[in-house]
């Protein structure tokens, strides 16, 4: 299978990224409309869980005494380092607006990253890998990855603190964890290096175009 050109891997990835870009754009539009309509949206009563809910990242452990496997003679297993999404009813405008604002910022960062990546992949599909703009685009992708990860980690810590302070559950303990992905940070640094490789390629191509 060809990697670059028409009907290649690059062409397929460009299609996937186009779909992703439309989905993210629709998400941004929806979040913006819901944010603008915030004062008029009726919120459910706090004691009624049905209706509008918001997903908040939570970190917790489950007591060993609660987990067992009688058929294979395991009596004291435990769930550690669990992370999940706590779905809580949105009962105040402050929670509603802050949740939507964060989602909007994250979607905007994602949109920038996907938009730039799509342009790079389109240039690969058109067999122009060393187009002059590609180095700058890849650098922007690296910044988007870094910014997205830092923001996600900050939000996760914030929501972990909020949940640990306000929520309780039988047999569970909510924790506050610094959940920054080192792999993502390293990936962002690799993308920075990749941008320099594209710059070197563009320079080579430019020099060759000047050769008679």
């Amino acid at each position: 299978m060809r990697a670059m050109g028409k009907r290649s891997v690059a062409s397929f990835v460009a299609g996937v990224l186009t779909l992703a870009l439309y989905a993210v754009s629709a998400g941004i539009a929806l979040a913006a409309v819901l944010l603008l309509l915030a004062p008029w949206i009726p919120l459910p009563r706090p004691d009624r869980p049905e209706g509008l809910v918001i997903g908040v990242p939570a970190a917790f452990s489950v007591d060993a005494s609660r987990v067992s496997a009688p058929s294979i003679d395991v009596t004291a297993a435990g769930i550690r380092d669990a992370t999940g999404i706590l779905r809580i009813p949105v009962s105040t405008t402050r929670v509603y607006v802050s949740g939507l604002s964060f989602a909007l910022v994250m979607l905007a960062i994602l949109w920038i990253g996907v938009h730039q990546l799509r342009k790079v992949v389109f240039s690969l599909r058109d067999e122009r890998p060393f187009a002059a703009a590609n180095a700058a685009r890849i650098r922007r992708i690296a910044y988007a990855v870094l910014a997205g990860e830092l923001l996600r980690a900050a939000f996760t810590i914030g929501s972990n603190i909020y949940i640990a302070r306000h929520f309780e559950a039988e047999g569970m303990s909510f924790d506050v964890r610094v959940n920054m992905s080192i792999t993502t940070i390293v990936a962002a640094l690799i993308i920075f290096v990749l941008a320099e490789v594209f710059r070197a390629g563009a320079r080579l191509e430019e020099e060759q175009s000047l050769t008679v």
Partner: protein, 225 residues
Amino acid sequence: MTIALRIDEEDRTVCATGRRFVASFLAMLLAVMWWLMAASFVVLGFLLLDAPNLAEAPSNAALRLPVTFALEASHVAAPLLDVAGAEVRAQGALRMPVVDKPGVLAAGLALTMAMLAVVWYGTSQLRAVLVSVRDHRPFSADNAVRIRRVAYTVIASESLRAGGAFAANFYVAKYFVADGVRFVSTVGTTVGPSIPMLVCGLIILVLAEVFRAGTRLEEDQSLTI
């Protein structure tokens, strides 16, 4: 003369802004990871050989199995905020004692070693690419092949991880029970291969071709008098 001067200036810029530092730092980081993974692989190999004895001896030996589960809404509440019922969908690690279970211990160790071997191979290839970039040879002839191998590694490790996670989730859902916790084992958004990761693998495959194009350009230029 003009071209030579410009390249020299850019090299100085590279040093000043730390671009070379990034490649150098990453190469060093990957070298450390490479050695750590090699050491872990050897330790796991010894543990695998000794699995029958290890499982029989009274010890705190335990496996950590990836699990996906849902917590019942009635168990989670925030009285201060007047929230009576919240639901948690979660992933975590189930710590399972392996005393008298040499088969389970051996299977867990073997799967971890297979994952480690794939990641180790990918890291060694990526490290070789970064070393060549650090040494100002980004379009060296071997890099396209190395990057292609990195792409295959990403796809293989993600498939292996998803397969292992599915097996572990299936095992836990079949045998384990917990009050207020429902273990999930169906393939879906939480149990299954990560689509972004697979797309990343495909993008890296395309990048390998970009490096090949760069190598060709450099070869052409080296032939120009």
